[in-house]
Amino acid sequence: MLKRYPYILLKKTNVATNSYDISLDRFLIKYSDMVIDPKLEANYEIIEIPDEGYELKKGEFHLGSSVETIGSDYYVPLVHAKSDIARLGLFIHVTANLIDVGSKGNITFQLYPVNNLKIYPNMEIAQISFWKPYGHIDLYNGKYQNSKGPQVSKIYRDF
């Protein structure tokens, strides 16, 4: 039985009107395979974002992660870009913004820029909102639990 937390590490300074702001941590992941095959473990390199910033090139996909540890046993977190970031043409997720209730860890960002742009460590790029689930809750205990840093896809385990 997992211990129930109302929330994890929410600092007052990051609380916005409807959401909680979260920041980009220093490490990125870039896949190095010519073609991704979901049945196989992917190859990738780890990139450290220097203090002077790292340029994301238009159309180049990277994974990043949040500095903050996020999770809730009572609410369903949803990840959104900060509108400042969206206005610059950077997707911070490409499809899955729904976080499982009961999951805890650093959020993995799916970074996809439609323009060339620079990113910096610790910049606030995303926000989390918390949604109330209805009915019985089974807490998440899946393959991305307790994520530290960006987590590559583990879909190969499903085949």
Binding site: M34, P38, Q151, K154
Partner: protein, 132 residues
């Protein structure tokens, strides 16, 4: 009216047991194997995080399904990295959202299209003309 005038090719994933490679900068339209619907809740269909972590957009912008819809959901698919996909692979997730207020199901738009799309005349004709 042929709704498939602007379709380049139709790809039958069941013919690719070793996976079909999606190219970048190409929009693919797929549909779910499952029939999904509710007369009570609104649906949101998005990709699984395991798919998003590979840079695969599953729904480009419209994740919301109408109340009263029932059938295969159409998927807007865009790959930011070249990636193989497989027939019947788990790619998405549906969540159901409680509605506030009176529900008046929409009966005359894409829900009909979605319900019969796979077997529709247009789809079959397009299939015969354009499948690869």
């Amino acid at each position: 009216m042929d709704d498939y005038n602007n379709v380049c090719n139709i790809i039958d994933l069941s013919q690719y047991p070793n996976g079909y490679e999606l190219k970048t900068n190409t929009l693919y339209i797929g549909y779910t194997y499952e029939s999904i619907g509710s007369t009570k809740y609104a649906m949101s269909l998005i990709g699984r995080s395991s798919i998003g972590r590979y840079g695969l957009f599953m729904q480009l912008s419209d994740d919301l399904g109408h109340i009263g819809e029932n059938g295969s959901r159409t998927l807007e698919i865009l790959a930011s990295l070249p990636i193989k996909i497989y027939y019947k692979m788990n790619v998405g997730q549906v969540s159901f959202w409680i509605i506030q207020g009176e529900i008046t199901p929409n009966e005359n738009y894409y829900n009909k299209f979605n319900e019969s799309k796979v077997n529709s005349y247009d789809f079959n004709r397009a299939w015969n003309n354009k499948k690869i």
